[in-house]
Amino acid sequence: MRMCWIAIVAVLGLVVGPAAAQPAPDPARTGLGIRLLDAPSDRRDDPRAQVYVVDHVQPGAALSRRVEVVNRTGRAAQVSLYPAAAELTAGSFQVLPGAAANQLTGWIRVSPATLRLAAGASGTATVDIAVPAGTGGGERYAAVMAEIRESSSEEGISIASRVGVRVYLSVGGPKEPVSDFEITTLQAARQPDGRPIVTAQVRNTGGRALDMSGTLSLTAGPGGLSAGPFPAELGTTLPPGGSSPVVVVLDPAIRGGPWVATLTLRSGPLERAAKATVTFPDEAGQQAEPVAAEQLPLAKDPDILVPLAGALIGLIVAVLLYVLYRRRRRDRGDEGPGAQ
């Protein structure tokens, strides 16, 4: 256990470097931008918690986050900041129009409510979420919106634009509901434009919403061919108990079958894999029957993999230190006064 933790410290150090360097250089005019500045320390390994407000609290608890708003519209702007209600419908996280309210938006206070930003300037706002005591359990959704709405000329259509940080807040007992999902079926099809796709049915069997991402690989195809990995299309958000398709678009060169399709999906640190044998129809617009997917063992479960990798890195560090120590001792032995 001790070894594991040493290694986790080391792994974090390694990961932070490339992640910070990753964002692409900003073009000058990206308009109104927003980003989350704080994430909870206990969700360091959850990529969702670094982009969205994802948390679990008990009734009566409060939490606070900061967001940064950036004005790259090329002119001074007055930015309104407010919470807006959101719903998970049709497999998507959808923000309702305007400053729509729900129970969660009633608990959120964004201060300041207005930021006046010069061209190119940025400002910080605090998002305080206070959950009243006696609140029932369950997960609730909202978004912290930054909006520019200019009252334009007397006639015509005004265009408002707003961008937000999603809030997934779970309320309940001291223990957070477990997140889990299963891939139930895989279905091969050929789109009207001729591209083959695999549609996976995914069911959220846990107590928290999931944002799906992942890849599909094809193996053991005609003539022993392999293909992929192909990225799954993003944007599928599943509420607890919900079921929704996740689509993977493949290369047009892929034909026939049978292929062994292995789909690996993840939401935050959670990862699940399943495989099924699929055959792609030849005609555009056709689809094969859905095939029941076989769940694969969690060889890539972060709960197993991270400590394992950790132990390995810890061992390497220990060996290196020992070698270094031996060498220094030998060097000292050769040159130091002790040699005389």
Binding site: A19, T30, Q94, P174, V249
Partner: protein
């Protein structure tokens, strides 16, 4: 030297234990750390639009126009993607009103969505609502979904069609159309 090495190990182990202990007490006071990700942004080419003019008729008519180009830039460097939606207020002229549900939005294929830059070379395109299905502006519905991983920038120019029923009085109507990205 041996002692120093031992101390180093103990210090690291303590740091590990502290990290392990943190989640247990997180229910009351959540410790946070600073995130280094970039921003999710939206830009519109103009802040107003004119959808055009229609002549009222007994059988009703429609007016169709394009909105200013929308650019969504995701520099967060995450694998989570984004979605954009579009909604409208009712169109009014004094006491006269055309409901937002009379308007629908879509994107003609030549107007996007176009992936203008991405951190990865091979990426799937974005998906959007086409003219056939359209999207009523009276409710929240996802308009464009980024199916691209990593940082990306996407352009699209929406088209809006408003149905002018025979009961609509001739006037110049105005309203606000909002683009939302999360």
């Amino acid at each position: 030297m041996r002692k120093a090495l031992a101390l180093g190990t103990v210090a690291l182990s303590l740091a590990g234990l502290a990290a392990a202990a943190a989640p247990a007490s997180a229910a009351d006071v959540t410790a946070t750390f600073t995130v280094a990700a970039g921003t999710l942004s939206i830009a519109t080419a103009a802040t107003s639009a004119n959808l055009g003019t229609a002549t009222t008729s007994l059988t009703g008519t429609t007016v169709t126009g394009t909105l200013p180009k929308v650019t969504v830039t995701d520099n967060r460097g995450s694998t989570l993607g984004w979605n954009s939606s579009v909604a409208s207020t009712a169109f009014t002229s004094g006491a006269l009103t055309i409901a937002a549900s009379k308007a629908k939005a879509y994107i003609v294929p030549t107007n996007g969505p176009t992936l203008t830059s991405a951190a990865l070379s091979a990426v799937p395109s974005t998906t959007a609502i086409d003219a056939a299905t359209g999207l009523t502006l009276g409710a929240a519905q996802v308009f464009v979904t980024a199916t691209t991983t990593a940082s990306n920038s996407v352009d699209y120019t929406p088209t809006v069609q408003v149905t002018i029923d025979s009961t609509v009085a001739a006037a110049t109507y105005s309203g606000t159309i909002s683009h939302t990205v999360v």
